[in-house]
């Protein structure tokens, strides 16, 4: 991968996006009614897609260990509850997470490339990525250089993603576009195209540090970009909305948009994730409600 690959596709010519049309489509999809068996299935599916996340400077090894246990055993007092997809932490806590999750299928994701701003030089970003992978990260969540993107230096953004991808080795690369700083859906689409062509395994909306974080319109535009890329190349790229998805009801809206844009192949944690911290407990509360008929207080669910 290098800049010549980028020149094969002119990113200035990414398809136009009509924001009004996108919002209308979202409003229509948000009216899908999810009930009964369909609801329980959606709750479990959503839980299995969660990247349990803690990204605070005050994070401790103890907190990360707790989060990992929660990831593997979200709520053992009820049977048939799936583990979440991954735990997402800063690179310096990857080793702790990896050790705690040993033997489970839960992956460790590490944010990298001077997360969340990305305001550093490439050498530092690559070194940080390699370090996180050496520590045991299965997945790397990088941020794009939004400043370079907004000035139109698309090749710079492309090359940087390609270089990080190389540094990832076998680890999966999620590329965070930080859509809250891209301002238009046209930019979201263009950044998605760049990231996928440069080697992203997943494209991700947000760091969670900037408002607005994930939104349904942004997510749909990214899913449509993934669909076009799939038809163009045959490759299936994953999607991760992150930040601001706190309730089951909102998560359902995302699953509906996913189902009606990319269908069956994407309805699993290999190709779709929720970057969230509080969502998991809301999903658990609803699952317990569906299975027992009793809506329990939040005190019955561990806060990690």
């Amino acid at each position: 991968m290098n800049s010549t690959a980028a020149s094969a596709y002119d990113f200035r010519h990414s398809p136009a996006i009509d924001q009004v049309g996108v919002e209308e489509r979202i409003s229509r999809l948000s009216k899908r009614s999810i009930k009964k068996e369909s609801k329980l299935a959606a709750l479990k599916l959503a839980l299995s897609m969660v990247d349990l996340t803690t990204l605070e400077a005050r994070d401790t090894p103890g907190k990360v260990r707790q989060l990992c246990v929660k990831a593997m055993h979200p709520h053992d007092s009820v049977s048939n509850i799936p583990p979440v997809a991954a735990v997402c932490v800063y690179p310096n806590l990857v080793r702790v997470a990896k050790e705690t999750l040993k033997g489970s299928k839960v992956k460790v994701a590490a944010v990298s490339t001077a997360f969340p701003s990305g305001m550093s030089k490439r050498k530092v970003k690559l070194e940080e990525t390699k370090w996180a992978v050496d520590e045991g990260a299965d997945e790397i969540d990088m941020v794009i250089s939004r400043g370079k993107f907004l000035t139109g230096e698309y090749n710079y953004v492309f090359d940087e993603i390609a270089a990080v991808k190389e540094a990832c080795g076998k680890a999966h690369l999620k590329v965070i576009l930080e859509t809250g700083e891209l301002s238009t859906l046209d930019n979201v689409r263009r950044a998605s195209d760049i990231a996928m062509d440069a080697g992203a395994d997943f494209i991700k909306t947000s760091t969670g540090k900037i408002q607005p974080a994930a939104t349904l319109p942004v997510t749909m535009v990214m899913l449509e970009a993934i669909r076009d890329y799939y038809y163009r190349t045959g490759k299936k790229i994953g999607m991760k909305p992150a930040g601001g998805i706190a309730t089951s009801k909102i998560a359902f809206n995302y699953l509906v948009v996913l189902r009606e844009t990319l269908g069956e192949d994407w309805l699993n944690a290999d190709l779709f994730r929720f970057g969230a911290s509080t969502l998991a407990n809301d999903l658990l509360m609803q699952i317990v409600k569906e299975q027992t008929g009793i809506y329990q207080s939040i005190d019955y669910f561990s806060k990690d």
């Binding site: 136009a16 049309g21 999810i34 369909s38």
Partner: protein, 494 residues
């Protein structure tokens, strides 16, 4: 190798996670076994003594019996309307008229759920549409024209206007409630009284509206609602006591009406058929345009006079657009109109379903490439899958004639001039759509298409303030906005 691989690439919409049935409750719906005619503020048995069944097209079961108005009944209704006009409605202060119309609007809002459910049961349209479009828009029309009632003296600056008298109004089965609102609201706001005849397959919401009108205290005889089929409509059109005919329906019947009233003093507005061109340029926001095509043709099962039934795609994006259309059609849910997840409900009647099937045969015989998604449809009731025809010619009957069903004919074009010529090369001129990211192109193309309504980068947007109506065989006159109230008044140049 690359070619072989490309063939395998296909999004699979047969998902393991499905939506469970989510039917809107109809427990709160109270329908009478038998509905009489609404004349002079009361429900009265027809002189004919005859009733006919109105069925639910999704189940083929009868919902209720509806009176069939004979010529004698029409005479009584027109006399009631005339009496109300002479004695009350033309005499009371204009702001009083507005008060009653506001009251009707609010009552529709209060009973919105009931109206929506009955509309879906009687007509087959998905509850999502009757709930989110038909009923709110019907209320909006009453609200809007209520505002005009006491402002009519400003409708024609420098001149005076006066109401015409009694309006005979005949409405179609595709938007029963909404069309009743389009007709009644401007007529009575301007000071006329009306005799309205809903379509014979979809009379129930109009009769429920009669209940609302009764409860609103509107003076007796200002609005009369009589039910029946073509013969009832003909008696209304030919009645000498009618000052104005407002008709929405087929071009065929529109022409009969025009002939029938020629040589009389009756004024008329006709809102007839259409065969709209929906034009997608290569620089359009393609995914949103595809959504617009879907809404344009599959809204209300395609039973829409302004449906975007002819799609023109610029050749450079034709393959992509058609692929995306087919993918999108895979996700359309066809079924129970009362299910909140249903996108396409039941075809309104057996006759209409067989007409659609007939046109599909014609399309195939003409050499069109026929495509339907794989979705299942209920075994009972009148249902049809959304349908796409590619490889059709400008001379194809499915391109020239109005089907009034979920059937889209796709043609491609190379230049702007070519698409304008093709879009206009049709006896109709009701509506159209243009999709491009370039503002200048929107103005260039829309100004040259001969149609009453043209949407740019959207489709099927309605608002009570906006006039609606057709060119050529799509009709005469406008409904909606100030334009919609003017056909109900005489302008006095004094």
């Amino acid at each position: 190798m690359a070619k072989k691989k490309a063939k395998e690439v296909k999004v699979n919409f047969k998902t393991s996670w499905e939506y469970a049935a989510a039917p809107e409750s109809k427990d709160h719906i109270r329908l009478k076994d038998k509905y009489d005619l609404f004349i002079n503020g009361k429900f009265t048995a027809p002189k004919s003594g005859k009733y006919f069944d109105t069925i639910n097209p999704a189940t083929e079961k009868s919902l209720a019996q509806v009176a069939e108005a004979s010529e004698e009944d029409v005479n009584i209704a027109v006399a009631a309307a005339r009496n109300a006009y002479d004695k009350v409605w033309s005499k009371i202060p204009a702001k009083e008229r507005g008060k009653y119309i506001y009251r009707i609007a609010r009552a529709i809002q209060e009973r919105a759920r009931e109206f929506a459910v009955i509309e879906s049961m009687d007509g087959g349209k998905p509850i999502r549409e009757s709930r989110d479009v038909d009923v709110p828009l019907a209320a909006a029309h009453f609200f809007y024209y209520a505002g005009w009632a006491d402002k009519m003296e400003y409708a024609a600056p420098g001149k005076k206007v006066r109401p015409l008298g009694v309006a005979g109004q005949i409405i179609p089965w595709n938007f029963p409630m909404l069309m009743a609102a389009w007709k009644i609201a401007p007529a009575i706001a301007a000071g006329n009284t009306v005799v309205l005849k809903p379509a014979e397959t979809t009379s129930l919401t109009a009769l429920k509206l009669a209940e609302v009108i009764q409860e609103s205290g509107l003076p007796e005889g200002v609005v009369n609602i009589i039910t029946g089929a073509g013969a009832t409509g003909a008696a209304l059109v030919n009645h000498p006591g009618i000052n104005k005919i407002a008709f929405t329906g087929s071009t065929e019947v529109g022409k009969i009406i025009q002939r029938a009233i020629s040589g009389t003093q009756k004024k008329y507005t006709l809102e007839l058929g259409g065969k709209a061109a929906n034009i997608i340029f290569e620089d359009a926001a393609i995914d949103q345009a595809v959504e617009g095509i879907i809404n344009g043709i599959f809204f209300n099962q395609g039973h829409v006079c302004c449906a975007g039934s002819r799609l023109f795609v610029q050749e450079s994006v034709a393959d992509i657009v058609i692929r995306k259309l087919k993918d999108r059609m895979e996700t359309l849910i066809v079924g129970d109109p009362l299910d909140k997840n249903t996108d396409i409900g039941a075809i309104n009647s057996k006759e209409q379903l067989s007409k659609i099937k007939q046109y599909i045969k014609i399309g195939i015989n003409e050499g069109g490439e026929h495509y339907e998604p794989s979705c299942s449809i209920p075994s009972k009731g009148f249902f049809h899958r959304p349908t796409l025809f590619t490889n059709v010619a400008q001379s194809s009957r499915i391109v020239q004639e109005e089907i009034f069903g979920p059937v889209l004919a796709v043609q491609t074009f190379r230049t702007v001039e070519e698409v304008i010529e093709k879009a206009n090369n049709i006896p109709y001129g009701l509506s159209g759509g243009v999709w491009t990211d370039k503002g200048s192109k929107i103005f260039k193309v829309t100004s040259q298409i001969r149609a009453g309504v043209i949407w740019a980068n959207t489709y099927n947007k309605f608002d009570p303030t906006s006039p609606f109506g057709g060119y050529k065989e799509s009709g005469v006159g406008r409904e909606g906005g100030l334009h919609g109230v003017m056909p109900y008044v005489e302008v006095i140049h004094a």
